[in-house]
């Protein structure tokens, strides 16, 4: 089954699932209220957005320079920087490190890039056990699912669902409170940090000026993953670089507000290298993988380059009425929602993923909330245009729009077409086929009534009046 067919099937199933919708609407509703409250603490949020957009523009438009500076400074701090062109290269680098250090278990903090390169499956295939330490990711891993949302991986689950999962997988009694569940996860995971040979994290930002890796989180698990095991590996997309340490003063609050409605996340960590001789704890080695995996192609596209400004806050997902009805899993991608629909065709191929760019009403809710002001719905339109230009939308649609364009440039033909549709609707209504499988317009009329075409057009009225 193609990705497009799969999407149509899954999205239709989810769109009809009212329980799923209720869970999602509740979660996004709570989020929206929190974000609104925190945003109101800003003197000028829109100025912050504009500033963030400019800083990201600066970072992305001189990406090579900033990355090289990061490499230089991080190396000087004793870290090892690896450049991976694609997912396979990144996986090989990680496997090489695992072999060299005799790694049997890896403890991971939340990282969408590791999802992007399908790291967990790969590690398991190679005899290394990956353990997710972010509570949401841990639950998802227990359930053998993929993260549902780039920030909130279990947005689709209720406390009762999680209670049941823990009962089935960890043998806890049912009817546990949220606190019980968290404590269970804490108890299980503490042991994992102590026994893991390597910690793998993502990176929310990397700073060129200081050669540091910035991690932002709420549970302290990224901090433990990066400091307790012998080796720490951080992997991040190349677009995560910021020129200056100072930039974090802007981006940490922007990310926290847009991501979860917090003023700041609970833990914000700067990693500046392995344990020094004067220090008592920290890893022996710190490795950073800078992953391209299609990003430089997006960078080369001046028109859509700003999609690399994304700081993965998830605000566009939470604002998207399509996401709020079909949820994260239906997309079938690592990155869901509007940003996923924009970048997936670039990262994984337009032909196979263009359908996501069409699966939007273009309401612009995503662009409105984006903290770095990416014009997401404009990029969906550009993806659509690119899909058509590479002849990817089928001959029937192509001919239809050519005929439409022809008719719209000739008022006589336009009026004849209008007459025909009036006639057509008359027949369809008389035969009683409107809304049935026989109706040529059934993709509309099956669920929604069609307006009756009035006998007299505005054009007719105008003419009669001016006679």
């Amino acid at each position: 089954m193609t990705h497009a067919c799969q999407f149509i099937r899954d999205s239709a199933t989810k769109a009809a699932d009212l329980r799923h919708r209720a869970v999602l609407q509740k979660a996004t509703g709570t989020y929206a209220t929190k974000v609104q409250d925190t945003k109101s603490l800003f003197i000028d949020w829109s100025y912050g957005r504009e500033l963030a957009r400019q800083r990201k523009w600066e970072a992305v438009n001189d990406l090579a320079f900033h990355l090289e500076e990061f490499d230089l400074r991080a190396t000087a701090r004793g870290m090892t920087v690896h450049w991976a062109e694609n997912a396979a290269e990144a996986r090989e680098i990680i496997l090489g490190l695992c072999k060299r250090h005799g790694v049997r278990k890896v403890v991971k903090s939340k990282s969408m890039v590791t999802e992007e390169i399908h790291l967990n499956d790969f590690l398991e295939e190679n005899g290394v056990i990956p353990v997710e330490s972010d509570l949401g990711e841990y639950i998802v891993q227990l359930r053998h699912e993929h993260p549902y949302h780039i920030v909130t991986p279990v947005m689709h689950l209720t406390k009762e669902d999680i209670d049941l999962t823990f009962h089935e997988k960890l043998g806890t009694p049912t009817g546990s409170t949220a606190e019980d569940l968290t404590l269970t996860a804490r108890r299980v995971l503490r042991n994992e940090y102590l026994t893991a040979d390597m910690g793998i994290t993502g990176a929310n930002f990397i700073i060129a000026e200081t050669g540091m890796v910035c991690l932002t989180e709420n549970e302290g698990n990224a901090r433990l993953s990066s400091s307790m095991p012998r080796v720490h590996l951080a992997i991040c997309g190349i677009e995560k670089v910021l020129p200056r340490l100072d930039d974090l003063a802007l981006f940490l609050p922007m990310l926290a507000v847009s991501g979860t409605g917090q003023q700041l996340t609970c833990y914000n960590t700067m990693i500046g290298g392995p344990r020094q001789t004067t220090e008592v704890d920290g890893p022996d080695e710190v490795h950073v993988i800078l992953l391209d995996n299609g990003r430089t192609e997006l960078l080369a596209d001046a028109e859509q380059r700003e999609a690399l400004h994304c700081i993965r806050c998830g605000a566009c997902l939470n604002a998207c009425p399509v996401f709020k009805n079909i949820g994260g899993h239906a997309y079938g991608t690592t990155y869901q929602g509007p940003i996923g629909s924009v970048i997936t065709p670039h990262l994984r191929g337009l032909e196979e993923w263009k359908h996501l760019s069409y699966a939007s009403s273009l309401c612009g809710g995503c662009a409105e909330v984006c903290p770095v002001h990416i014009e997401l719905h404009h990029h969906l339109l550009r993806n659509r245009r690119n899909a058509v230009q590479t002849n990817g939308s089928g001959w029937l649609e192509q001919i239809s729009f050519q005929l439409w364009s022809f008719a719209m440039r000739n008022t006589t033909i336009y009026r004849v077409c209008a007459l025909l549709s009036r006639f057509g609707q008359g027949i369809s209504r008389r035969l009683g086929i409107e809304g049935t499988a026989l109706d040529p317009l059934q993709r509309w009329s099956k669920t929604r009534a069609l307006p009756e075409i009035p006998a007299r057009s505005f054009h007719d009225w105008w003419h009669e009046r001016n006679q």
Partner: protein, 228 residues
């Protein structure tokens, strides 16, 4: 507008003439090109839009009873005509194009049009009008001045109705689910009418209301403002 919702256009003429403006209807007009543009057929859209530029080249002011078409002209023509010979002409037309309520409330600064329309009305913020043209307070101000009209608010007033042009027939299941959220919110607030400045949204909302046998009716703001 011409074919499906002539009464909206007629109401626009009546309201504008009532304010003492001279209204012209260039008969050569058809469409702004948005359906093709939104579907990725920019060449076909450009051909149709170029005709729009020709037909309206001499107009003093263009008033359009749709936030969606207005946004197409004002915002997306820049994309559509970028690096083409018509770019300057498109910018010229964009600068003199106004959405109907925008024209009344912002350009003419009118509040009370002397309209009378008894009933409880809830406003649907159509996406293009709201986010493309930043119209939120303007239509509400016009409605509050209508005699007999009780203006209500709903929970999901800024949520998209799920129309989205060809989206509504390419992904009917998603589109209808979005419509269902919208219609649920409308019915919950206890309105007799749901009003908007975009007939396409009203077609989407009205289609589901009718299918459900709801008593709530759809109405374009121009029709309310032209009521006496």
């Amino acid at each position: 507008m011409d074919q499906l919702f002539p009464n909206v256009a007629i109401s626009v003429v009546k309201v504008l003439e009532g304010l003492g403006h001279q209204v012209d209807y260039p008969e050569g007009q058809t469409c702004c090109g948005q359906p093709a543009f939104n579907s990725g057929y920019w060449k076909e859209a450009r051909d149709v839009a170029a005709r729009f530029l020709d037909v309206f080249a001499d107009a003093e002011t263009i008033v359009c009873p749709s936030g969606s078409c207005t946004t197409m002209i004002r915002e997306f023509y820049f994309d559509l005509f970028r690096d083409t010979a018509d770019f300057k002409a498109s910018a010229g037309v964009a600068a003199k194009t106004f959405e109907f309520t925008e024209f009344l409330a912002r350009k003419l600064n009118v509040v009370d049009l002397g309209a009378r329309f008894p009933g409880r009305v809830v406003w649907h913020d159509a996406c293009h009008g709201l986010r493309g043209l930043c119209l939120k307070e303007e239509p509400r101000r016009l409605l509050r001045a209508v005699r007999g009209l009780d203006l209500l608010e709903m929970k999901e007033s800024e949520t998209c109705c799920g129309f989205g042009g060809t989206f509504s027939i390419k992904f009917p299941n998603i589109s209808t689910a979005m419509d269902d959220v919208k219609v649920g919110s409308i019915e919950e607030c206890g309105a007799d009418y749901v009003a908007s400045a975009d007939s396409s949204c009203l077609m989407q909302i009205g289609g589901l209301l009718e299918k459900r046998g709801s008593k709530v009716k759809t109405i374009h703001i121009a029709e309310i403002l032209a009521s006496r």
